[in-house]
Amino acid sequence: MEAAVFISSLVDCCALIFLSVYFIITLSDLECDYINARSCCSKLNKWVIPEMIAQALATVLMLVSMHWFVFLLNLPVASWDVYRYVKVPMGNMGVYDPTEIHNRGQLKSHMKEAMIKLGFHLLCFFIYLYSMILALIND
């Protein structure tokens, strides 16, 4: 049971890692003028909700299986995701808005955010891996 929980959260975490890397690549493409702002933002906006769902899934899994420490570790990121999504002004075309992305250093802050998430997901990945192996061994 434990093992199943950790296997699924490991898979979830892998998906989140791939997503963060995709975000980083797309944002850096925009920085280097390989794609334009509109296509970059539409690509990224498409994956905002799946990312939120995946993060929420990981958090809920940890909550349900009563691993409090990991739950508390995941909670800030999940709530930040939700906050970011909810706080988008009405006139903006999603979390990544092509008219605003070049203003006020938003591109840099999005990049920083994606990097931090990547680091966080890598950390979680190893935590889950370790816990999964422990759980498999103990079974």
Binding site: F18, V21, I24, I25, S28, D29, L30, E31, C32, D33, Y34, I35, N36, A37, R38, P89, M90, G91, N92, M93, P98, T99, H102, N103, R104, G105, L107, L118
Partner: protein, 885 residues
């Protein structure tokens, strides 16, 4: 995005080799899925350059890569072999005869004396005689609490940068290109210490009386950063020149050695590109993605009941008929009309028809275009039909009962019609759009108009118009919006369609062709200017700065396509832009910072042109010099732009607090820098003495004021104006000019062209300066008020206004009659002198006791106290109090 008609290999510049290496990497990344991702990403980010891209990203590659200072710095540092001498301290005097090589052409010594030339350049800049007095004057400390008369008697000219005379002569005109700090600080730390924003205010497409046009085949540009050659480059010898933005040494092409103007060979520094900082190049086909487009004009007219009631159609049709010949364009000009109420109507103007044919599409959920060819017709061929239509249009809808307005579907149809070519769409709307896609709700609560707390609904309600604007911008369609409504029409959302497609917003609140003659006259005059002014199509603009400076925020109506490339579907001579910069690396090894704005556009005659402006400013290392060179008008405009951004993204009260803090911080920084200033009184340097006044005036603008009843649409329109007008207009709006005109004398008058133009002094904007015995003129840019005191001498009222006494003055007089008295001639000469370089004529009001104009007149007296805002003196005390916290 317009599809390139030719092969993407039309990109003329050489991309640095590292780019072509990374491109296949990225393909690999996108298509595979290995875990090598992360390491590859790190490799990519370390080799990013930002120059031309291999993907045919149309205009970026055409205009040339932007300079991405951070990544190229390692490879370029070694290209700067000469040890740069530091600029000499300003107090030291240097013989003014040492002229920089770029302008003097010290030919024989050029070959081997690179370092000497550098030295000459920097020494010519620092320590010219007379500089120390100028700096001392601008740094003279003044106690603002005690000095009552801080306004100069005439509008102050922009501060001159502290450069040698030769550089100053060729430097870009401050009307075109202005920086908030004419002495650029060396490091970001120094800039932060000064607590002043660093930015540029541009008016690149301004109407110019004199513009050198270069017709040569080769346009000389730097190979790495693609800067155009300008007066501030240095020629190392006759065959090589050094870019002043990235310091790369480039070769001078052979064609450039010949100077067609003086017919001489071997003097590249005498060519017009190097002698003028504002030039226009004729662009070759390398600079075109498709053949230059013709001028295409589409007019989208609201014909609902509301619209017909207001009567704008008559004014519009008459105006267009009068100006049909003067529409900018050539034989390929196309024109079209679409009207809409709850359905969309098209007009078939095919040449050969006996009269225009109207086609109605009532399915607004899925609008389609009924015929393909004859809706946008060639103006020359179908001129008679167009005239017939314009004559018939006002009468066609007089009995309409439609009250709904399907603006969204009409815009969608306009987009479809114009997509193949691009052009300009002019939308005339008189109410809230209530039908179809993009319908809006009324969001304003009239009870909250004077709320002192947060003002809501300053941002758009839906992203429909933004998306449409981006689509239009991609197809080179600019949308201009004329809003003529008397009720709330959610301008905050509607304006997005113009903001991001490089159009303009015009607002005529309570427009009515009979009851509101002032608005009607203004509309007429504005239309005249709008229809006949110069226009540029499918434009892009790029702003480049010296290595070390980078631009991080843009203000104005355009779409920021990439880090410093602005996509402007239409460019017009009445819009201004602002950018904010930061200093990424220290500028310690240069003594000059240069900025170049290059605007690539298609003229209305189908010629592709590039207008280039270059500005050069000195770099300083002392805080006092930074203060000495502060341009307070530019700073106020940039702060206004920043405040509006802040009020939309966070809240209005935050923005207001931030403005006050800007003054407090700046004056505190000045005080901390000065050594022995007593802390009593509010000390400011002479360069910044108007700073608190301008900020107070900003706080009392319709855009940013609280506590006074302001309609939401008017507030939003004021914000749009502050963000898109050029600097002179904004300054007139924010701090109008007040003159007493009933006692103007010939003392110190200007004598121009046989007319004597009196020069009354500027008065401070306070009721103290108004007297009942006088008549005062207030010039607010888009509107002018002539306030006549109750006991004004009757000779003035008689001679200038044409009425026997005060009581007989009508309450809604909107122009000064042309009488033959000297007083009248003098007054009219003065007013026309004021309006000389103005492009949009202001509405004129004679203010007597009429309630509405009197309130607006008194609202502009910013130094006075109102029930919700400080007087000037109270504001100074407030600032002083904040400073002592």
């Amino acid at each position: 995005m317009s599809k390139p008609a030719t092969n993407s290999s039309h990109t003329p510049e050489v991309s640095s080799s590292s780019l072509s290496e990374t491109a296949p990497f990225l393909d690999f990344l996108h298509s595979r899925g290995s875990l090598g991702f992360v390491w590859m990403t790190l490799a990519v980010s370390s080799t990013t350059t930002g120059s031309a891209s291999p993907v045919p990203n149309s205009y970026e590659s055409l205009e040339g890569g932007g300079y991405s200072g951070t990544s190229l710095q390692c490879s370029l540092r070694h290209l700067n072999p000469c040890p740069q001498t530091r600029p000499l301290p300003l107090s030291r005097r240097v013989q003014p005869t040492r002229i920089p090589a770029v302008l003097a052409g010290t030919d024989t010594s050029l070959g081997f004396r690179k370092c000497v030339i550098q030295e000459e350049l920097s020494s010519a800049l620092g320590g010219l005689s007379g500089v120390s007095e100028l700096e001392a004057e601008t740094l003279r400390p003044m106690n603002l609490l005690q000095e009552r008369n801080i306004l100069p008697p005439k509008r102050a000219p922009p501060p001159e940068p502290n450069l040698s005379n030769d550089l100053r002569k060729v430097n870009c005109s401050p009307d075109t290109f202005r920086c908030t700090l004419t002495n650029i600080p060396q490091t970001q730390a120094l800039l932060n210490k000064a607590r002043l924003p660093l930015g540029l205010l541009l008016h690149p497409f301004r109407d110019l009386t004199q513009l050198p046009v270069i017709t040569s085949n080769t346009i000389v540009r730097c190979r790495s950063c693609r800067t155009y050659i300008n007066p501030f480059v240095s020629f190392l010898d006759q065959r090589r020149w050094k870019c002043n933005l990235c310091y790369r040494v480039n070769d001078v092409p052979d064609e450039f050695m010949y100077n067609p103007v003086t017919r001489s060979y071997g003097e590249p520094h005498k060519r017009p590109e190097v002698q003028n900082s504002t030039v226009e190049f004729i662009a070759s086909s390398d600079y075109m993605l498709r053949p230059p487009q013709p001028a295409v004009y589409l007019f989208l007219l609201d014909v609902s009941h509301n619209a017909v009631e207001s009567g704008y159609l008559n004014v519009f049709c008459q105006s267009l008929l009068d100006n049909l010949e003067k529409l900018p364009g050539d034989t390929r000009t196309h024109i079209g009309f679409v009207t809409f109420d709850s359905t969309v109507h098209f007009y078939n103007l095919q040449e050969g028809l006996s009269q225009p044919q109207m086609l109605v599409v009532s399915d607004i959920d899925d609008v389609f275009i009924p015929t393909h060819d004859s809706l946008l017709v060639n103006l020359k061929e179908s001129k008679e039909l167009v005239k017939d239509l314009l004559n018939a249009l006002p009468g066609m809808f007089t009995h309409t009962r439609e009250t709904q307005s399907a603006l969204g579907p009409a815009l969608q149809v306009a987009y479809k019609l114009m997509s193949p070519t691009g052009g300009r769409v002019s939308v005339f709307q008189t109410q809230l759009p209530t039908l179809g896609a993009g319908l809006l709700q009324s969001r304003e609560d009239p009870n909250l108009r004077s709320s002192t707390k947060n003002v809501q609904h300053l941002g758009p309600a839906t992203d429909f118009y933004k998306k449409l604007a981006l689509d239009c911008s991609g197809q080179q369609i600019g949308v201009d919006l004329f809003l003529l409504s008397s009720q709330y029409s959610d301008l905050a959302t509607l304006a997005c369609v113009s903001k991001y497609s490089a159009g303009g917003v015009f607002y005529y609140p309570s427009f009515h062709h009979i009851h509101n003659t002032a608005q009607r006259q203004k509309f007429q005059k504005d239309l005249q200017r709008y229809l006949t002014r110069k226009i540029g199509f499918e434009a892009v603009m790029r702003i480049r700065c010296t290595k070390g400076l980078s631009i991080h925020t843009f203000h104005g109506n355009f779409f920021v396509r990439s880090t410093d490339l602005l996509s402007l579907a239409n460019v017009n001579p009445d819009s201004g832009f602002a950018v904010q910069m930061s200093i990424e690396e220290s500028l310690a090894d240069t003594s000059l910072a240069c900025f170049q704005a290059a605007l690539l556009y298609t003229s209305s005659k189908g010629k592709r042109r590039i207008r280039v402006h270059t500005l050069c400013l000195p770099v300083v290392s002392q805080l006092s010099e930074v203060f000495a060179g502060a341009d307070i008008q530019a700073i106020s405009c940039l702060l206004a732009n920043m405040a509006i951004d802040r009020s939309i993204s966070s809240s209005l009260s935050d923005a207001r607090d931030a403005l006050v803090n800007a003054v407090v911080d700046c004056l505190t920084a000045y005080r901390a820098n000065g050594s022995n200033i007593q802390p009593s009184g509010l000390i400011a340097p002479a360069a910044l003495r108007l700073f608190p006044l301008y900020v107070l005036a900003l706080l009392k603008q319709k855009a940013l004021r609280t506590g006074t009843s302001t309609r939401l649409d008017e507030r939003v329109f004021s914000m749009c104006e502050l963000k898109s007008q050029p600097l002179q207009q904004i300054m007139h709006m924010v701090h109008p000019d007040l003159y007493r005109i009933d006692n103007m004398t010939e003392l110190a008058a200007l004598h121009l062209n046989d007319s004597v133009i009196p020069q009354p002094p500027l008065l401070q904007l306070t009721a103290e300066k108004l007297t009942r015995e006088g008549a005062f003129l207030m010039d607010c840019g888009s509107v002018m008020y002539l306030w006549v005191g109750k006991c004004c001498n009757e000779m003035f009222i008689c001679d200038v206004l044409g009425f026997p006494n005060y009581a007989s003055l009508p309450s809604n007089m909107t122009e000064i009659p042309e009488l033959q008295t000297t007083y009248s001639e003098r007054t009219r000469a003065f007013i026309s002198w004021l309006l000389e370089s103005r492009t949009f004529h202001p509405a004129f009001h004679v203010v007597k006791d009429d309630a509405s104009t009197k309130t607006s007149f008194f609202q502009h007296l910013v130094e006075d106290r109102t029930e919700s805002a400080f007087s000037y003196y109270e504001f100074l005390l407030h600032v002083q109090q904040q400073m002592s916290k």
